[in-house]
Amino acid sequence: MTQNNRLSGGQIDRNTTVNFRFDNRNYTAHPGDTLASALLANDVRLIGRSFKYHRPRGLLTAGSEEPNGIVELRSGNRQEPNTRATTTEMFDGLEAQSQNRWPSLKFDALGVNDLFSNFLSAGFYYKTFMWPTAFWEKVYEPIIRRAAGLGSLSMEADPDEYDKGFRHCDLLIIGAGPSGLMAALTAGRAGADVILADEDFRFGGRLNSETFSVGDQSANDWAAQAVAELSSMPNVRLMARTTVIGAFDHGIYGAVERTGDHVATLPAGKPRQILWRIYTKKALLCAGSTERPIAFENNDRPGIMMASALRTYANRFAATASQRVAIFTNNDDGHRTAADLHAKGVHICAVIDVRKDAPVNYDYEVLSGAQVVNTKGRLGLTFVEVALPDGSTRTLECGALGVSGGWNPNVHLTCHQRGRPVWNDDLAAFVPGSNLPVGLSVAGAANGLMSTYGALQSGAEGAAAALELKDVRPDLPEAEDTPIAQKPFWYVEGCKRAWLDQQNDVTVKDVKLSYQEGFRSVEHLKRYTTLGMATDQGKTSNISALAIMAEVAGKTIPETGTTIFRPPYTPVPISTFAGRMKGQEFHPTRLTPSHYWAKERGAVFVEVGNWLRAQWFPLPGETHWRESVDREVRQTRASVGVCDCTTLGKIDVQGADAADFLNRVYANGFAKLAVRKTRYGLMLREDGMVMDDGTAARLAEDHFVVTTTTANAVNVYRHMEFVRQCLFPDMDVQLISTTESWAQYAVAGPNSRKLLQKIVDPEFDISNDAFPFMGCGNITVCGGLRARLFRISFSGELAFEIAVPSRYGDALMRRLMADGEDFDVVPYGTEALGVMRIEKGHAAGNELNGTTTALNLGLGKMVSKKKDSIGSTLSEREALVEPDVLRLVGIKPVSPEEKVTAGGHLMNTAGPVDAAHDQGYVTSAAYSPILNSNIGLGLLKDGANRMGEKMRLVSPLTDLTVEVEIVSAHFVDPEGERLRA
């Protein structure tokens, strides 16, 4: 294909030609093009289909406000739906497809919707599709869903990488048009730390689209020179291809930098986009303004575009939508487009100006006081029909129509903290209100200063004011400073199917119907008609719709309402917000000191919070996890097993008041705990529920080491700091988390002492007498390595926990395995740990579910009433101490092979099975290889008094009913003889 609609000039690199494909056809373009400009240059006007009526759609704009020209970019797992062609930078090999059409863009079957549009008026779906009831999900909804939506996802994982970053500056300038560049020059020259960000790949904003001069240079040369000066300043950071998407609290702005969207293939390790959080002292919004359309009959045909967009395409990109162009305007700016196109050799059929006193001294025909009343051309504009002031009509043959209805300041970011813009009659537009985000000010066209000189001046002044610079009088170049000359004009009288929201197919008629049906607030209008809900968020349609609503209601526009904008300014890939935190990197992975050893042993790992823990250690030949776990339990209980319990939280509690402090945070007492002794500690929340449990070992009078459960380590530490700093600020107590410092292993089983004696240095006596149950102390192992030994047991066996500095953890585990060979030592994982604690009746995570009290868990007596401790008072509320509160019990099936299901509910053996007769539930279940039976723990109403009772365990969810017996939770060694051995 040749570029038939390529004009002369422009800021494209004509020396290089690149190839691209659209709907499987090959085209050529030049660097500097966008996909949109390249398509126009290649005489492609039809680009997509609208959402509801599947009407043919072409480009409307040349910027990020584009509602129509959206495509599926790239292919395979990089397919990217709903991509605006107008902001897609051209690269060699670019591939794009039109979307929301079937079987093809030119012949779209659902184009039939357009024929029935009268039946598909605003909100019609709320009034029908209700009969028969079941048909909604089965019939109506699937049809609607298939027709709705726009582009498609590939359904494959996004293969690209994304980064997040953080930058800080004195002044963030948003937009690098005339006001932004001038602001950056002013601030940069004054030495301020400046970030200048613009969504475009070329700085300059409208300066790149205009033919007038700034100073003695062309506008875009001036812009280029300003950029060159800014680039040389070390205190100025220029961020092109960067959209500031939102203004958040306290001067934090979100910005998306598209680092890889303009290349065919990303270099390895480089991100496609970066989400920046920019921390600013001040920010200056220089986001310019957006031209708005005029609504008239059939104003949505491909080829009907914003006049300023035609000018941008011609001047910046050297492309035109057609060689025959007409302009429809209510203001002088429309004429500028005609003049520029004319100068580029495009035939101007006429300028249709609604003003009777339109300027007429041009080289082309001006139809004053005229209006476009209809258009023709199914897949692209062919004719426009113009009503002349004398009542006659005239038909103009043209391939493009530029429409200019005036300009709306881009106030979006000023609304992100729910500030409301205010109406300005001179502009007939909303300008930023007074309630701006703190630290943000506005300059240039975004603030209603529509001339180039006005923009330059307000940019300089805005920067100086934001930074409180004194005596700064930048030399402003001479520049265009024409006053605004326009007549507010929103839509052509008598039109019906005149589009406001071109993507969502909302017409003037829909706005009127919305009013007729009582949806008269702006929010009701938007929600009822879907106006402004499309991918462009109504950037070109909201104000016009509001104006029409105002007219129908007989009110002024400000009386009718305002419309505010929410972040993001333009849509952002979900991947960009996720950054690197996805897949395996979603959360950091915490590895235990024995991890690498366990991996060598072929351990199966399980996620416990962010930790990876060995779940079990399969041996060759074991085909089911139960075989491994049963073996680990049996061998531990028969001889000795070792388990990595490093993940338990460990907090160093020191200070003169350490014991007193623990007395407050634990329900049971610690004041009298002897040095070199350990005690179980029960921690309550202030509401009386059990928060956590663990042990506290007293290493010295003023030094404890407390453990927390793995899951609650962070919460418990935070809670203890709260108690220390906020409740008892004068206590002499210091808290340091030491979880990571020590590799800690449980060595459990009747031979645990014997095994440890092989590694504990001989000067330390760990016999039962010297180191009894609940003893603890500092020792050395393996020839002088400092270690801590605790005689505590979770399994119910004679057991110790031994801790060494983490770097030696791997070696210690290997040593325990080697030295333990004589005892047939077994490493055990979290499953066996779980089985043994259930056998022993220890409450753990499933029982400490945040709704259980000490009484529920059979630990009521531990809550000391002789002292002040967190949670003690509220644990006594009436419903928490009723006679039949849930109590922890053991559950045993009458037939041992029958399954016990955690989450099953307990019912009396007779009577109905329903919620009203629920007696409790099973919290944990396991197979006990010691008892050769399935067993469980549960919480049962009045459970302490129901030992021996037969009940039904029901789990209708898993289709299970089992007869069970209520027994003591202590299945193994209820007297605790083993652990004291």
Partner: protein, 95 residues
């Protein structure tokens, strides 16, 4: 949001963990006559003002200080940041 930490200066609020109303410092006396009612109020009832709110934040990813932040719940404007320990002492808390 940015919390101007009294020791460390401005820090992003995402480094902090929020707890709630700074009345949580005013833990009742467990031996008082009306302790049950006082603890109920302390634990469960809040002013929840639309306006200035004194609240507790923990500098979890920072220096582990608890702070009392005075922040407007309608605008998010922060007017004061103090170390909670100082506030607790000023409210008469000790050991």
């Amino acid at each position: 949001m940015i919390i101007n930490h009294p020791l460390l200066g401005p820090r992003d609020s995402s480094e902090f963990t929020y707890l709630g109303d700074a009345t949580l410092i005013n833990r009742p006396d467990w031996q008082a006559e009306d302790a049950a009612e006082a603890f109920y109020e302390y634990g469960y009832v809040r002013d929840n003002p639309a306006g200035k709110h004194q609240e507790l934040w923990f500098h979890e990813a920072g220096d582990r200080s608890w702070l009392v932040v005075t922040r407007d719940t309608t605008t998010h404007e922060i007017s004061k940041v103090e170390l909670a320990r100082d506030v607790a002492r000023a409210r008469g808390r000790s050991k």
